[in-house]
Symmetry: C2
Amino acid sequence: MSSCEFESLEKSLESHLPEAELAEMKRILYGKETKKLALPACAVEAAFKRDFELKGYSFEAAQEQLRMPRRIRVGLIQHRIVLPTDVPVVINAMHNRVGEMVKVAAMCGVNIICFQETWTMPFAFCTREKEPWTEFAESAEEGNTTLFCQELAKKYNMVVVSPILEREQLQSTLWNTAVVISNSGNVLGKSRKNHIPRIGDFNESTYYMEGNTGHTVFQTQFGKIAVNICYGRHHPLNWFMYSMNGAEIIFNPSATVGALSEPMWPIEARNAAIANHCFTCAINRVGTELFKSEFTSGDGRKVMWLGSRTPGLSRTRDGLLVVEMDLNLNRQISDKWSFKMTGRHAEYAEELTKAVRHDFRPSIVKE
Amino acid sequence: MSSCEFESLEKSLESHLPEAELAEMKRILYGKETKKLALPACAVEAAFKRDFELKGYSFEAAQEQLRMPRRIRVGLIQHRIVLPTDVPVVINAMHNRVGEMVKVAAMCGVNIICFQETWTMPFAFCTREKEPWTEFAESAEEGNTTLFCQELAKKYNMVVVSPILEREQLQSTLWNTAVVISNSGNVLGKSRKNHIPRIGDFNESTYYMEGNTGHTVFQTQFGKIAVNICYGRHHPLNWFMYSMNGAEIIFNPSATVGALSEPMWPIEARNAAIANHCFTCAINRVGTELFKSEFTSGDGRKVMWLGSRTPGLSRTRDGLLVVEMDLNLNRQISDKWSFKMTGRHAEYAEELTKAVRHDFRPSIVKE
């Protein structure tokens, strides 16, 4: 069986395990079961017609005495590219496809939607080619794609997180950036990818540098959100600092390959949610993208650019995941587990400040 | 099926899944397959006779040109208590059982062995009782248990990590401490539990306080090791700082209950290994411990003090896990993935220093 035929972990477990064992397995692998969310028939039908997967789940918090529930719905979109990589650049190529998926998200009552990393283009940063790929770069504030997202935001009263390849107009610098658009249609701001991979062909640092927007959190009508782009998921301090700035939901739009890091996907975002008492939402693109200059990974083996998975969605099909979450859950979990309160952050600030000095002497005991 | 009958995730998968799907499932869940380690027949026989599980695996690194492989073997021991909790305190109660398990570890060529959290006693810190449990506390440097471990260390030329309840003689302060004994038999030092749970009945802070030994790393003949005790596994900064001080292997001896946190076990230690380019070894005790004063969890429900699992060992039986690891793998992984190099630690030191101030103003953008 090739790995592209393996549709999802859940499907495989569900088709083979006896019921009681399945329940215990799911408890160990996934924790408390998330309830399925009933989605409107019109949305289910529209997703079927447009050939993408649609799934819904909900996280419930306990009823509190003083705070009303803060139930909101988040939508996560994964999709393949729609044009082959050898046709001329079309900036709007993906707009239609994603537009129809957002329409379905709106039917499902989604308040905040997040697209995959550099969603408007093939993920070409692992090739040796710069042209024509950098032509997909746009202004975060005034580019076509931002204008398109502003329309969606206003039309559906939805916060839109739109990760693009950004060209900063003044210096023509490229960045890997998520544009955050308020449900009013205004650009709330942007968050640039903080950590850039330098792994074999995933040496994206020839395209853009480490972001300079720090760990900004965006206060939206539906909660405080932040965007940790792709490789930043490997850095626990990155998640942590978004959380220290108050993020209730941290999005992690990615573009990566199953053969390279798939075993880490179920671990890193979940670990960040556990450690920081917040929601984390991970997205990866799907599909196969072929490039003219076939490329190799850093270790000389060929890389398979294969379909990849978000938890709960197929590893191979376009899809929309709708998640209802009561943001009250964050504080409830924090009050119970106290990882922030017991975090001794001041001590770490001191230790880390010493540890980053060039003349740092590590605390090592020898005989 | 009650959860105590569910012996292990691996066993359940192996008995139900078709071969090809099992392989793909294991790749996604566990990453690259660890090879089984051939263990000597005498050890297998001894473990069988003494009724404990024995398993061996190995992590292989690539052959380098300038460095010889640094293959070492680590042993991890999980066990139940041997005396019921209503008999008089016997400091040495566990010594025999663990002694015979260490003997088998020696047959398997183990260089560094680690026992479970406060291994000499029932894990009573969740009861309301202080007596007689605090009588198990011993000096880290001169207690009976340390003397016993020094003998083992010398006899088997083995580094011994012995987590005990420590009584600091001068101030009669209690600590949750791991004593690290060199293979020469000398006490190399100690590492105290850095983060203390305050979760319902897991409010251990009435017994001991946050440790004051920082993130000391112990340079042994077989590699640089550190000990992150129990609840410290929830704090990514804790793992991180041990690693910043040079740890190649971080042990995580624990005592916790499956119903409470089992879904997190496969995540946190693995995430730490990924993020910090090092080996992490997690141990939990097994068995059922009953206490006179039956206790409830913080949310008013009864807590089941049920068997718990280390990856690869049974959730219910005593066991010894032997793992061969080539420590060269750490630098190889680091050179490939570069999470340290791309970590931007100096920026985090600055940000964190600001974030821990009482007048910190988080970086939040509003419309």
